[in-house]
Amino acid sequence: MTTPVLSKKYYLTIYFVTWLVIVVVHAALLFFLYDISLTESITDSVVFNLLFAAAGYTLWFVIRYNLKEKPSGVDLLFQHLMVAGVIIAIWFFVSYYTLISLFPADQAYLQFLKESTPWRIITGLFYYIVYVLIYYLILYYEDLQEKLRHEGELKSLVKEAELNALKSQINPHFLFNSLNSVSSLTLSRPDKAQEMVIKLSDFLRYSLSSDRKSTTTLENEFENISRYLDIEKVRFGKRLNFVPDIPTKCFEAKVPSLILQPLIENAIKHGVYNSTEEVKIALSCHINDDFVTIHVSNKYDPAAIRKKGEGIGLKNIRDRLLLIYHRNDLLMIDSDGKTYHATLKIPLTKPA
């Protein structure tokens, strides 16, 4: 627990200097205006002011911790009146009796001390108000700093997530190998090369235009993966055999955009990339009142699986499902050692 006064050397200096000035002014007033002797003037000033400096210091904890609940209007005023009453009373009586015990014989001074009581209380109240205002300002400033820092962190997190999403959408192997195929086709089949460039552009445009929260129809999603698979078909030829089975009644279902592509990409990566034979990628879909269920399956070579755990593509799907539907049980992955199954359950009603 640190107070702002102790948090920086510079604040501590200001605190001391301010109180020193007050002590000097106070003592000077008593000495020159009220004809109190020098010793009494200085002692009076030091006792009253240093005790308040100490009380004010502890006031920070009251403000910081007791009033942190942010009570409103009347409550706040009432609390402050209570705290002020207690602090000023303690401060005044301790100072008062300290001075009486220090100068028991000086009747003129004791008379003055007695008469000045209302002024002392008013000064105490004034000090209290100044303290509270300064402390509130510091708290407000700290809060603002914290908010700004937090906001900055959040922004960089969002950026990172976006970047990761982008990276996982566009696999560099896919991109460069596809461009290599285009390069080859420009020599042998320029018409096919053009078709492939257009498909590749459409695919990239679709990937870049979707954000993490956007949804689209299953029909759009299906068109996108069809483009993707057409491109891959040029590279892999007969090794890639895509068998879709999507009833038209599923087409209008709303699903997160780019949710299918990572599943198909995984099927290609683990199935087709690692196989010299034909690999069937089956996509099926059914719909009921609550969910549209999409199922992707492919054979894979268990000896070829290199990485443990889930790749960035699946993690991304899970993150987005959690973000949009607040559920983490919508993607199910299952493999029996030969065939890999991914099942995606998309709720038809989106939570608010």
């Binding site: 290599n180 390069s183 000896a303 290199r306």
Partner: protein, 250 residues
């Protein structure tokens, strides 16, 4: 003049077509084989003894590097790759020529000219390629399969089937449920790259797969034996007992 014999090993048809198209105007070469995978590549190399091979790094079943390890002879090699930062680092360390897909005809011909001049000067690539393979292996992740070449036969052993591995001079003996294989490999490499969850080097000359472990027997004062499911009894060296126990969680 004798023509330069070329083999193309590349799993994607358009990529093979492109190399053939770029080579079509060259009169001093002949393409002897086009292979879709590394297994066919090994066969083609041992059959045709090419001077130059275009080799794709990423291929199914057997990658370009895994294929190189199984070769008996080393022709000039021009690697092709779409995206592989590790491989590129290794190529550069070994001054091996490689083409980044997609590559221009100009870049392709430059690589070809360089290879031709090495071939005409009869500069042997063997050490270079072996070095490269070692470098790539050093960076390798955990391995999940081991290739063993016996004569012209290549066996792929999934590591999950390995019961134990014993050191045999320059070779290792890999024992599975059904067979045992000899491969030129080091125990240190296997210790480092087999999955650490179940492969434990219990002795300077033995690595065991804890999935096939029956029990640990104590004999003598501080000596232990591991008994495996195939009945074999493996000595555990004193210094490795602790490691074995931590891996097994006992």
């Amino acid at each position: 003049m004798e023509k330069i014999k070329i083999v193309i090993i590349e799993d994607e048809a358009p990529a093979r077509d492109l190399i053939k198209a770029y080579l079509s105007e060259e009169s001093d070469i002949e393409i002897l084989a086009e292979c879709e995978n590394g297994f066919d590549g090994i066969k083609a190399i041992s059959k045709h003894h090419p001077d130059l091979v275009f080799l794709d790094v990423q291929m199914p079943k057997l990658t370009g590097f895994e294929m190189l390890e199984l070769l008996d002879e080393y022709p000039q090699i021009i690697f092709t790759t779409a995206y592989d930062q590790y491989a590129i680092k290794a190529f550069e360390l070994n001054a091996t020529d490689y083409l980044m897909k997609p590559f221009s005809k100009e870049r392709f011909l430059k690589a070809l000219t360089k290879a031709k001049s090495k071939i005409s000067k009869k500069i042997l690539e063997e050490d270079n390629v072996k070095n490269l393979v070692t470098k790539v292996k050093e960076q390798a992740d955990t391995i999940h399969r081991i290739f063993v070449k016996t004569g012209s036969r290549i066996d792929v052993i999934p590591v999950s089937e390995i019961i134990r591995i014993d050191a045999q001079d320059d070779y290792v003996e890999i024992v599975t449920k059904s067979k045992s294989y000899l491969k030129k490999e080091t125990m240190n490499f296997l210790e480092k790259n087999l999955p650490k969850t179940n492969f434990i080097r219990v002795h300077r000359s033995s690595i065991i797969n804890s999935d096939y472990m029956d029990k640990i027997e104590k004999y003598g004062k501080e000596s232990y034996l591991v008994v495996l499911k195939d009945g074999s009894r493996i000595n555990v060296s004193k210094s490795r007992i602790k490691e074995l126990k931590t891996t097994l969680g006992i």
